[in-house]
Symmetry: C2
Subunit: 259 residues, 2 copies
Amino acid sequence: MKTAVIIGSGNVATCFAKAFVKKGVSIDAVYSRNLNHAKQLADKVGGIAINNFNKLPINADLYLIAVSDNAIENVSTQLNVNGLVLHTSGFTAMATLKNNKRYGVFYGLQTFNKNSKTDLDNVPFLIEASSLEDEKILKHFALSISENVQVANTDQRQALHVAAVFANNFSNHLFAIAKQLLEQHQLSFDLLKPIILQTAQNAVTHNPIDVQTGPVVRNDKATISAHLEVLKQYPEYRQIYELLSKSIRELHVNSTKNN
Amino acid sequence: MKTAVIIGSGNVATCFAKAFVKKGVSIDAVYSRNLNHAKQLADKVGGIAINNFNKLPINADLYLIAVSDNAIENVSTQLNVNGLVLHTSGFTAMATLKNNKRYGVFYGLQTFNKNSKTDLDNVPFLIEASSLEDEKILKHFALSISENVQVANTDQRQALHVAAVFANNFSNHLFAIAKQLLEQHQLSFDLLKPIILQTAQNAVTHNPIDVQTGPVVRNDKATISAHLEVLKQYPEYRQIYELLSKSIRELHVNSTKNN
């Protein structure tokens, strides 16, 4: 991949375009519905800034569609290009791009932020392409961006996307609940920071099922009842406590049975 | 604190006794119901090994009760000593020790493991004592063990204990669920490791409410429906997805209202 066109100007577009430039890819154009946004990104990564698909160069090696999921299909149908068209979405089917001659998916699993430098070297990338030949080309290119690249079909990518909601969105929400409980008792969230970091470290070093601790796996019913009593003013958190405890119990009983 | 008696021989007893010795405290005795366990720990930290409360030295400065929560009261009533009696439980009321002359709580919030070296320097400790004088003595001592010490009453400590279940036990369970979803689609849990570490890092560097991402905060109903469709074979995980999404929505709406 020698030349690329970037479609979009948000966090993912910015982060990926910068990484492409760093690896020697020349950006031919940056498209955004908002010309100023296109200019801002083109200033950083090069290329012409456009807000009209008719002005798109048609012979770049790669067209990166980094726009919100619900806009991908509309963008795709407006393209009439010879290069490899890729979207960057975790959940959108590759087939959404099927009006193009050559297409695929280039999905990096991480939280991207326009203002912080996200290093892509270790970000897991899931790739998919409409032909074996393009899969090979895409894999070679992806490996120049990250050392963690894997071919996966749309079903697999969608499962990973859901799994990431549990591992990231939902765990972060549990941290937010914990913070609220502490503040309502005049305690600082700082108290939980060491255990939050240790929990993540344990989960990635070991199997999370093996390092599960707490009253449920000890079958310590007295503590569970007392915890629910503490939560009686927070019916919603109590409901979450009960549902997750039930789920831990079931997973733990199943994993004990299998051993 | 110059001398201590350790009651218990498990992870917390072992970890704390080692830390005491490192800070120049001399261990007079180690008690365990199982004399061999007492001997094993005494071999490491010094002191006589006993399994009979009548043989307990009565003039040590500190008596550390590091046994399971439901055994604390029984141990406490068998003590008749002059030193400061402390339990190490996150959830047991200080008043459980009230048959003693001087008593308090010495609770360190971290996952303790007998075999790994847990460094206590940064572990948050919540302390509580039956008199202001002993609170001062205990605080001074605790600060020699960790730089992160705070006086907290039983209600506060219990709230922290519940909050830690959300931040540690429950988030770890979400990682276990994510792992299952991946494996059922022939994907490795390794794919999620970078985002798990980043999530913890973001939560402790920022306010977890501010860094919440995902379809719920974007109000992306199409993705939420599609995720629920992926989860249709896993009714329990679907229920967790729905409940946590509802909770994120409510917290996010509330925090937007307050800004």
